[in-house]
Point group: C2
Chain length 168, copies 2
Amino acid sequence: MKPMQLVLFLTAAVSMALAATGIAMDGSRDKAAPIYGVTIPEGYRHWEMIAPAQEAAPLDELRVVLGNAVAMKAYREGTLPFPDGTVLAKLAWKHVPSSEFGPASIPGVATTVQFMVKDSRKYAASGGWGFGRFINGKPTDEAQHQTCLACHQAQVKNHDLVFTRYAK
Amino acid sequence: MKPMQLVLFLTAAVSMALAATGIAMDGSRDKAAPIYGVTIPEGYRHWEMIAPAQEAAPLDELRVVLGNAVAMKAYREGTLPFPDGTVLAKLAWKHVPSSEFGPASIPGVATTVQFMVKDSRKYAASGGWGFGRFINGKPTDEAQHQTCLACHQAQVKNHDLVFTRYAK
């Protein structure tokens, strides 16, 4: 094996080994959220819109919750609890004044993207839901993920731990 | 023809005549918006999300703009002007405090649904766009439709008369 071939081979081998452990070549952390192992679902930005929301200070955010096909069917048919396979995506941006239309606020910089994944067996210990919070494509730390469930359980136990309702 | 048959026949005939004039049997106005003739596109609530917005007092609204497939392709590829066939839908709701999560405001009652339809020949006189504003499925009056174009032309001439940018 020539030196250059060796370099390429070793690079590939190291890359594969790291991928197996969930550590990317650029040094970023595992792409799966702590506790739940939730990852960013492919193509979620194409999902349908469930509802928008606004978050007051200090967050000052505009948010939109999207749902995959399983989620949208459940919402439209009023199915509770949500069936396994439901995935909800909450996109959030700082809200900033529009420079073009006085009364409007519009999305500024993206902040977090958060997911709820329904799998009643895998997530039996957390009401059937796995939670994942991401910033710039990377999961936030374990401490942040420890806050999800308690709040959802305290506030929306009667709606299968889901805050967002379908905006007609 | 028996009396009952005659009644059915006349009901059908009157209904067809009214349909031809755009007046529905329930007395509602024409389903096409004045000036532009824009109608509510089938299935628009399933379209992808372009961006949310918030409208300050006195409207106090949460809004989401959705786009059909032509619109989404143009947004993602940065195509300007938007190609013929682009349709944008702006959904709006009163924003009301969430009873379940203190800092959040969520959609209350739906207010207007508004559309922009790109057809550079049909709407040559209005920058290629037709506008339609609907409340409870019915178009608003001509006076309201006379306000659309001037504001869009004054504020977003450099973005093909479209305010909303894609929220990444």
